[in-house]
């Protein structure tokens, strides 16, 4: 139960960070990716700010034996660079440039009750389900 409350708080705070930073505005994201046009570097500072904080906090938090509400750490440990990682990230980036939304900002923007974020999210879930279905045969991530 407590884990559900902390997750809610993290989601809430995350959304506020996205809104303040400009990540929920597709035109800004596309401006950031428009390296050969009207490049707007401001969103680079979103990553700098987030990594600055978490680079330090990650090391401090991991000094503890366990998380506060769970018995073990659930952090990914894979190290192999696979074709699925590269091809998947390329497809994601291509869609990110076209729409200006990545998953978090799109979900947050559902609260605008505008049609575009809703179209994006429905389609995104469709894309996720399609990959999971394809992968149940091809095992691309194995």
């Amino acid at each position: 139960m407590k884990k559900n409350i902390s997750s809610f708080a993290v989601g809430f705070l995350f959304a506020l960070g996205l809104g303040l930073s400009g990540m929920t505005q597709p035109q800004k994201v596309i401006g950031f990716l428009d390296l050969f046009g009207t490049f707007n570097p401001s969103l680079l500072f979103v990553m700098i700010g987030a990594i600055l904080v978490h680079f330090i906090s990650y090391r401090l938090i991991r000094k503890k034996d366990t998380p506060l509400l769970h018995t073990e750490w659930m952090v990914p440990t894979k190290k192999d660079i696979t074709p699925a990682l590269i091809i998947g990230s390329s497809i994601f980036g291509f869609g990110w440039g076209l729409g200006g939304y990545c998953p978090g900002p799109a979900l947050t923007s559902l609260a605008s009750f505008e049609v575009r974020p809703l179209l994006f999210v429905i389609s995104m879930i469709g894309g996720m389900l399609l990959f999971k279905w394809v992968d149940s045969f091809l095992k691309l991530k194995k």
Partner: protein, 142 residues
Amino acid sequence: MPTDWIYALMGGMIIGSAVSIMLLFNGRVTGISGIINGILTPEKGDTAWRMTFTLGLFSGGLLLKAIAPQTLIGGSLATANWSVVVAGFLVGFGTIMGSGCTSGHGVCGISRLSIRSIVATLTFISAGIFAVLIFRKLGVLP
């Protein structure tokens, strides 16, 4: 605008704090595509926190809409609805295939210096730059 990057940095630091809280309390990385992925294939005892996280994102969006609605207006980008649908589909497919998005790879992964996440992030930013270049040329993006 000179203030853009300051908001971006502050927003990024809030995001970095949010993912730190998730790690400290729940022992997990905050990868939004992964969190949604887990809802699509529910496992007993591992779904509620994903739902409350998503609800938190949406609730944060509601607060943004109430106090700073300009942060959620994605409609200012004059692209066709079909491009939003295609973009969402690619983002969904690609993030599951590539095991992560901007939050999981770009923030959490880079902060712990995961080689997979560094490669994924460089890949999706490059693909995004390529997409904006192409879609500007084609006139899909204004």
